[in-house]
Structures are given as C-alpha cells and as structure tokens.
C-alpha cells in the first residue's frame, strides 16, 4: 500500500509525518534531535529507509545524522567538513573581504543512483560530497573558484542551499547560493560555470547583470525535463529553457515576486508553485493572506490557491527548502511555515489542510513517496 513520509526540519528538532495515500490522517513522530536546529532532512531515492539529517548548533557545531530504518533510529555520521586548501576570503556585508569559515550544512542531496553517495551544501558556501554514507566528506573546490571572492552572504548567511541532480546526466549538477547565484557542473563537480545570464538585481548589486552575486533563493526542475529550470530569486520568478544558459522572468501577475521556495508538479512539468512574500524587508504574505500561487503555463499566468489556508492576519514566512511535492496521483504539495504549520494539499493545490499547527519554526519540508 502506498503512502508518504514527510520529513520536517525545524528550529528545535526534526519531525516525521506519515500517512497513507489519502493523505488525510497523519501520524507524527518527534522531536528527533530535540532542541537542536535541523536545517534539512532528506531520504535516499535508492533506499528510502536511508535518511540524512543536518543537525546544527551555534554551540556545538554541525552533525550529520543518518537513519537506515526510515527515521526510527539515528546515529551520528561525519561532521568533518574541511575546505580544500586555503579557502581565502569572500565579500562581507560591508563590502570588505572576510575569511571563508565553515558554519553548517543547509541542504543534503542523496544521489539518485548510489546508495552511499550524498552531497551537502554548506555555509560558507561550498559543495561537499560523501561516498561512504556521510561518514567522510570531500569538498568539490572547483565551485569556489568561480569568482568566490565576489560572493557575499545574504541575510541568512552565505549558504549553498539548493542542489539539483540531473536524472539524465550523472555528471550534471545545479547548485544555488545566496548570494552568489546559480552554477552548473557538467563534469561531476570538477568544474563549474555561473548560470546567471538574464538575472537582474538592481537593488542588490552595483552591476545589476553581474556574472555572480545574485541572491538566488531556490531552483526547481521536473525530472522529465532537466534542461528546464525554475527559479525564485530574491525578487523575480525566473525560467530557463536551456539549462541555465539564459533566464527570463515569469513573475507575471503574482502579487509579489519576492519569495523563497519554488516547486514543480510531479506529473505536469509546466505546473509551478510559489509562495509570494511581501518584500525583502517584510517576510510575510501580502495582505496577511497565505496563498500558494500555481501556474499551469510554466509561468506568467498565476492563480491563487487559498482553500484551507488562512486568509487574514497571517504573518508567517515559508523558507526556501520548505516546499515539496510527492509523486502520487493526484500530486501532493506540502509546505511548512515559520509559524510551525505544515500544510498538505492532496489534489495539486486545490484544497489544503494543516497536518500539524504548532511545531517550532519550520526550516525544511521534504516528502518521500513510499510504495
């Protein structure tokens, strides 16, 4: 019997929410790693019972936790993340240069094909790879060589927050960094190229069309069309039809084109979801109405999805890794808020219900579709 397992990272631990395919009745387990920030939790597509969690603490640092039984039990894996060579400096908030310092892992991306291979996106921005199930980590330093000294931290830190593996080309990986932009490797991580043409950031960069430095918030891709990418930038929702070589804006009729997450429907590659946020200085929904916006046209034309979501006095945020889709039919859409709610729509966004309402602030939401 099929079902779903939703993996939720919060400011005070991780939670696992499970349901059958109806996605109406839910069981909640947790908190796992109680009291500690869990930036991201994600399962392996090769072995769904293998789940990685990024546990991070300002006091005691980074720990990668791993479960091999679907989240019932956990054990610490590796926590030694070292940059290759002298990492040098990057741009600081005030424009001066600042030493590169490892702080935490924002995102974990298990391999699509290898059970023991997993990638980690770090702050200060770098891409790490483990081929032994997370016990040891090696940096892929070619990324930082793409004008790293010009990168700068966004408000949340200089984090590599998005890793997308191309299901049709094992050597192609997309990553995104706040605030450096989007990058692509076509050789398995040895070298990277910036893929930021078409992005315009007049309020963030002295050169609005600079090659690097853009505050990309999230990328999304449908696995059947790995050359088509969708982007939620600091401001602007963007699309590329050529693997990031050029982007064009698809914000269209959105009430605000600022936001954090973006997701693509599991069975409709032209159906895209965003959650508009009022502005960079007001991180909550416009008009206090929590609305997911859906485009069935690959952008530009957006419809508000509100059924079951609070439409007054709602001032939560939805962070970049806190929205995802399952692969059931109809497609399930999930997102978590900084107010501690995790919402699900079991019908592609038409109707929503809260799975939980009172978790700590939600940092990330991932879902596993279980057969």
């Amino acid at each position: 019997m099929s079902g779903v397992r939703v993996l939720v990272g919060t400011r005070k631990g991780a939670f696992i929410l499970t349901s059958d395919a109806a996605r109406k009745d839910w069981e909640v387990s947790g908190p796992h790693f109680a009291g500690i920030e869990v930036y991201h939790v994600k399962g392996s597509p090769v072995d769904p019972n293998r789940i990685y969690a990024s546990q991070t603490s300002s006091w005691f640092g980074q720990v990668i936790q791993r479960s091999d039984d679907g989240g019932k039990t956990w054990a610490p894996a590796g926590n030694d993340f070292r940059y290759v060579g002298n990492p040098g400096t990057h741009q600081w908030y005030d424009g001066t240069q600042h030493p590169w310092e490892f702080k935490r892992v924002w995102h974990l991306e298990p391999s699509l094909t290898e059970r023991d291979t997993v990638y980690a996106g770090a702050e200060d921005a770098a891409l790490f790879k483990s081929t032994d199930g997370g016990h040891t980590w090696d940096e892929l330093p070619g990324l930082r060589s793409v004008k790293g000294p010009l990168w700068q931290p966004g408000a949340g830190g200089m984090c590599l927050h998005t890793i997308i593996l191309d299901p049709q080309d094992a050597n192609r990986i997309y990553v995104a960094i706040s605030a450096a932009g989007a990058f692509r490797t076509d050789d398995g991580g040895q070298t990277f190229v910036p893929i930021n043409k078409g992005l315009i950031s007049p309020y963030e960069l002295p050169d609005p069309t600079a090659e690097v430095g853009h505050c990309v918030h999230n990328l999304a891709m449908h696995p059947s069309r790995p050359g088509v990418l969708f982007m939620q930038k600091h401001w602007d929702v963007m699309r590329s039809d050529n693997a990031g070589e050029m982007w064009h804006e698809i914000s269209g009729n959105l009430p605000s084109d600022f936001g954090f997450p973006i997701a693509v429907h599991a069975h409709e590659p032209e159906t895209v979801y965003v959650v508009p946020i009022k502005s960079d200085s007001e991180h909550y929904p416009p008009e206090g109405k929590l609305r997911v916006y859906r485009s069935r046209a690959g952008g530009d034309e957006w419809e508000a999805l509100t059924e079951g979501l609070p439409q007054e006095d709602c001032y939560v945020n939805v962070l970049r890794d806190a929205m995802c889709v399952d692969t059931l039919d109809p497609c399930g859409v999930y997102f978590g808020t900084t107010g501690g709610q995790v919402y699900v729509s079991a019908d592609s966004g038409d109707h929503w219900q809260a799975i939980v309402r009172d978790l700590p602030a939600v940092l990330s939401v991932e879902v596993q579709t279980l057969q």
């Binding site: 790693f33 009291g35 603490s57 300002s58 005691f60 030694d80 993340f81 070292r82």
Partner: protein
C-alpha cells in the same frame, strides 16, 4: 601515570555521545584541557568538532570550560588543571555558554 578524569557534558553532547551527565577518561600527566579533550574525543569520536574546531582545535565560541569553581575557558589549553580535577575529586565541566533570554 594515568589519571581517571571526570568530565561533565552538556545535554546535547550527552545525547550525541549516548552517555549520561558525566563520563570518565584516562589522561596521562600533565592533565590539561588539551589532554582531557584529546582523550574525550578518542573515546567518543562523535564529539570531534563539537567542543573545539576540527581544524584549529580552538574552543568553539559558545563553549566554556569550568573546573573547581573557576572559568578555565580563556586559559592556555596546555595549562595544568587543579589537583582536585587530577585526583578525581572535582569534574572538568564542558558547558554551553549562556546565550539568549
């Protein structure tokens, strides 16, 4: 000569290491912060990087070391610790710094 040193850990590190409030480690003389932490990390490898930086071995900013009613956080990691820590009368305490409300 090896000394049996008592080490008190904060809650999160107890959970991570799967131990209780206090553990004991064998430390050869001279008993210093560095020697205790080396022994602690050898016995509990999952604690590497949680108390001091993996590369520099510097104390993490929000970690403090207390012993015999004194704050040893800013002393040299190679300074000898008090006799009461060496003879096991008093523990060496790893403490999460106060931060927040």
């Amino acid at each position: 000569m090896s000394n049996r040193i008592r080490v008190v850990l904060p809650q999160h590190l107890r959970t991570l290491a799967g131990v209780g409030r206090e553990v004991e480690v064998n430390v050869a003389a001279p008993v210093t912060q560095r020697a205790i932490l080396d022994a602690l990390e050898a016995a509990y490898p999952m604690l590497r990087g949680t108390i001091r930086d993996q590369v520099t071995l510097q104390r993490r900013a929000f970690v403090r070391f207390f012993a015999c009613g004194q704050d040893w956080s800013h002393e040299s990691p190679d300074a000898p610790l008090p006799g009461d820590v060496v003879n096991g009368k008093e523990p060496f305490m790893v403490v999460g710094a106060m931060a927040g409300g």
